[in-house]
């Protein structure tokens, strides 16, 4: 968009002066034709001499003017042939004019007093126009302003003629050069010279007059007044002396005074306009600085000489008390990877300014913290006569940088986790084999080494539990698999924690006798109780309260288990209460508190569809309440979170995955939901399926495929074969960074919930049907 307007602008700017030039030339031709036809042909005096007593525009002059104007019109045309013939006309005309002039001078000598012949001024005027036009057209380097000088002189001579007629014809006739110059000729000469000026509008007077800048505006506003007012003033002066209002002596001084007043007004108004303009510029600069200060980037604007510097607020904060020039040259930067100092030719500021490259560098800020900075520089474009400014932008990229490092680390951890998962699977199998074999032997002959077999079984149990735990590490959500009998788990935990409560604090426990089953890991439940009781104990021990009571109640509501732990300790105010379940918030950092206890209970409760709540009154005590849904109840929020799966009936899906963890489970599930599924384990086998069994409705592919080709490369090939095939990408758990896949598609992170999976597939398919998928041009 921008480039287009930029390219168009010079053309537009030249179009207007050209149109004006064409108009003036046509006007000249028209005057000449009227002079020849109606004047000399039909004998209408008005078209030859305007008024009976004035000199006439002779036919020779009219022909010359028409020739020159035609030449000028041809010069303005696009075709080079027309332009060349225009030049020829312009060169020939003065020769013709000279013949006319010479002939007229001989037949009607000046001394004879006759006026109907080409005047010297007319011939000189034509010569000036012809030379001026040629100079405008052909002189580029040397004497490129010659046409301005010539045309200016021509205009001046023509105006002398015009003004002579307006003020006093008799006086004009006194000068031989102007004798016989008709009013029409003077006007025509003025127009021809104006065309010369307009034919090179990018230079000189025309450029200024036509400019869309404030200067041009001002010139256009004042020029007519500057021309007309003095003339009018002179006419008035002349007229007032004629009728005897003022004497000729007074006339001169009055004229001088009025002219002085007039020119002073012009000068002052121009100065005022300039000041206004400067004020606007200053305001614009100030606003720009304000805008720059709002940016989160440190900006240094460097003047071309390298000295003047403008900083935004961020940059000022960055350099502190140092001088910006010194800071840029001397501030200590280091390499991000190895903290090697960067100075001399390696100094990042120098490198960025000299080579325009983008550079990352480490830097210690004023508080001593290490920052990772991204330095970039660019030059502003040339505007008017001003040379380029250089802008150095320094971004603080510490956070994204750390995030990226952490990302890499979590990717490695994920790989380790997957490995662990695979190992754990094998271990499960192995322990299973041992257990079953030992069990068989035990059963078939119970007398064989019973102690040893029990030891083997115990070892297997431990190993199996270990394998389970290892596998759990690899998935995010472990809820749902396990059930716990809450009462016995709580009893065990209470016995454990009772030992930690000092004897002077009463520990009152109320448990229902009937067993209650809840869906959670018993360890989590035990940890929650221990944590809550210890918190209550700590609160009371800290204030040295001797007669405290901790009350633990477990109650069964229709679908919930409610566990409450209350104390009559110091309590908390509302402010503290609000933050108490935030991770890492603790009031006991000094005594080893991690600030995670309550946060973990909170997460645990919510993950299992329950809730955790603390209420407290200062000096009265604190009540912590944990609610968990009983097994089989419908109160589980975890289930509400999951959208139900939609049917995929009728969809033909190509599943490409080589993930060991799922091994075909994905495809199976899609089949059970009604989809027709074809499977492939590599890009190549997927492609041959697309060729032989296609077209497919959706391509569901792992983003990371084992083998030379990634999921997105497969997508590229698949799209080339079957355009508009919707693609859904699957990625690993922590979400390996995907830099905008070249073939757009929806992205799913494992482990994927069935509802999300089916909705995603449907969305991909439906969007493709609607024909609005991005990437299709």
């Amino acid at each position: 968009m921008t480039t287009r307007t930029d390219r168009n602008r010079p053309a537009n700017r030249n179009a207007m002066p050209r149109n004006w030039a064409r108009f003036a030339s046509i006007l000249v031709v028209a005057i000449a034709l009227l002079n020849l036809g109606l004047g000399w042909g039909a004998g209408l005096n008005f078209f030859t001499r305007m008024m009976p007593s004035l000199p006439a525009m002779v036919p020779g002059t009219a022909v010359c003017a028409a020739l020159l104007a035609s030449g000028q019109i041809l010069r303005l045309s696009e075709s080079s042939l027309s332009r060349r013939s225009g030049t020829a006309l312009i060169i020939v005309t003065p020769i013709f004019a000279f013949v006319q002039y010479w002939f007229g001078a001989i037949s009607n000598p000046v001394s004879a007093g006759a006026t109907d012949r080409m005047s010297t001024a007319t011939f000189a005027g034509f010569l000036i126009v012809a030379v001026g036009q040629c100079a405008a057209d052909y002189l580029r380097e040397w004497g490129r302003n010659l046409h301005v000088v010539l045309a200016g002189t021509g205009c001046f001579l023509a105006l002398i003629g015009v003004s002579g007629y307006i003020i006093n014809v008799g006086e004009l006739e006194q000068y031989t050069v102007f004798r016989g110059l008709s009013l029409l000729t003077a006007v025509v000469l003025f127009l021809l010279n104006a065309v010369v000026l307009l034919s090179r509008p990018e230079h000189g007077i025309a450029a200024l007059m036509m400019s869309d800048k404030p200067g041009g505006e001002m010139a256009r506003r004042f020029m007519p007044a500057a021309i007309i007012l003095p003339v009018v003033l002179c006419l008035i002066a002349d007229w007032t002396t004629d009728i005897g209002w003022i004497t000729s002596n007074v006339r001169l001084s009055a004229l001088a005074l009025v002219l002085v007043a007039l020119s002073s007004v012009f000068v002052l108004r121009m100065a005022g306009a300039l000041d206004d303009r400067a004020l606007l510029t200053d305001q614009a600069n100030l606003r720009l600085r304000d805008i720059l200060s709002g940016l989160d980037v440190a900006i240094f604007v460097i003047e071309p000489d390298g000295h003047g510097l403008t900083l935004n607020k961020r940059a000022e904060a960055m350099i502190g008390p140092k001088k910006p020039e010194h800071w840029l040259k001397q501030s200590a930067f280091h390499a991000v990877q190895d903290r090697r100092p960067l100075h001399g030719a390696e100094h990042p500021v120098q490198q960025v300014l000299d080579h325009g490259r983008e550079i990352f560098a480490g830097w210690i800020d004023l508080d001593g913290a290490e920052k990772v900075l991204r330095l970039a520089a660019f030059e502003t474009g040339r505007t008017g006569g001003r040379t380029n400014l250089r802008v150095l932008a320094i971004y603080d990229v510490t956070e994204p940088w750390l995030l990226r490092e952490n990302m890499a680390r979590s990717e490695r951890l994920e790989a380790v986790g997957q490995l662990a998962s695979g190992v754990a699977h094998e271990m499960s199998n192995i322990f299973g084999v041992i257990k079953l074999s030992v069990g068989s032997v035990e059963l078939s002959d119970p007398t064989v080494a019973p102690t040893q077999f029990r030891a083997i079984m115990n070892a297997c149990r431990r190993g199996g539990a270990l394998a389970d735990r290892m596998q759990k590490l690899t998935i995010e959500d472990a809820s749902g698999g396990e059930t716990t009998e809450a009462i016995s788990a709580l009893s065990a935990a209470i016995e454990l924690v009772r030992k930690a409560v000092p004897s002077d604090i009463e520990f009152d426990v109320d448990l229902p006798s009937a067993p209650l089953t809840i869906d959670c890991d018993p360890i989590d439940l035990e940890m929650a109780v221990v944590n809550l009781v210890l918190n209550a104990r700590n609160a009371m021990v800290e204030i040295g309260k001797s007669e405290g009571t901790i009350r633990l109640r477990v109650a069964q509501e229709p679908e919930w288990l409610t566990l409450s732990v209350s104390d009559n300790g110091p309590g908390m105010d509302a402010e503290l209460l609000k933050r108490i379940t935030e991770p890492f918030f603790t009031t006991r950092r000094a005594t080893g508190g991690t600030g995670l206890g309550l946060a973990i209970i909170d997460t645990f409760a919510r993950r299992h569809g329950g809730m955790f709540q603390i209420t407290s009154t200062p000096n009265i005590g604190t009540l912590a309440k944990l609610r968990l849904p009983l097994r089989g109840s419908s109160g589980s929020a975890a289930q509400e979170d999951m959208p139900s799966a939609v049917t995929l009936a009728g969809l033909k899906i190509l599943v490409v995955e080589d993930d060991l963890q799922f091994k075909g489970v994905l495809g199976d599930t899609l089949t059970t939901l009604g989809a027709t599924v074809d499977r492939a384990e590599s890009a190549d086998s997927a492609m041959s399926l697309i060729r032989s069994a296609g077209p497919f409705d959706v391509l569901l592919t792992d983003y990371q495929l084992v083998g030379p080709e990634d999921g997105h490369e497969l997508a590229k090939r698949a799209i080339a074969y079957q355009p508009r095939l919707p693609v859904v990408y699957l990625t690993g758990m922590s979400g390996v960074q995907i830099d905008e896949p070249p073939i757009p598609g929806l992205i799913l992170r494992k482990p994927v919930h069935l509802g999300l999976l089916t909705h995603t597939i449907r969305l991909a398919f439906d969007t493709q049907l609607a024909g609005t998928r991005g990437g299709d041009a």
Binding site: I434, L436, L443, G664, D668
Partner: protein, 120 residues
């Protein structure tokens, strides 16, 4: 006493399972692929079938569904060494047809209990 079919690709586990179940007094057939399992199910009558859900070539979940629809009423027990998979949503949804799930680290007694409770 029950007639049991087990499909598992792990040869060692398969043989240990068969031996154990026989010791427990059951009659057991062991196969190593889902395809064989279907063939055996069609030719013989079984009280209960154990299927390993993670077998090469996949197909375990669809096998569960096929068996469930072809032999309605036949108890299906899903066994796996990948216990964490039991907890993934895809699995939970996909294995609704199974009457029980069992870890591979289960003891003979636990398996026996499942068999007894399933066929009663």
């Amino acid at each position: 006493m029950a007639k049991i079919l087990i499909a598992d690709d792990d040869r060692d586990y398969l043989s240990a399972f068969c031996t154990g179940m026989e010791v427990m007094g059951h009659i057991v057939d062991g196969v190593r692929t889902g395809k064989d399992a279907k063939v055996f199910l069609r030719t013989g009558t079984y009280d209960i079938v154990f299927l390993d859900v993670v077998m090469p070539g996949g197909g375990a979940i669809s096998l569960v569904h096929e068996v469930a629809s072809e032999f309605p009423g036949l108890p299906i027990v899903v066994i796996s060494g990948r216990t964490e998979l039991f907890d993934t949503p895809v699995f939970r949804e996909g294995l609704r047809m199974a009457s029980a799930r069992l870890r591979k680290t289960a003891t003979l007694q636990q398996i026996h209990k499942v068999v007894v409770s399933s066929i009663v």
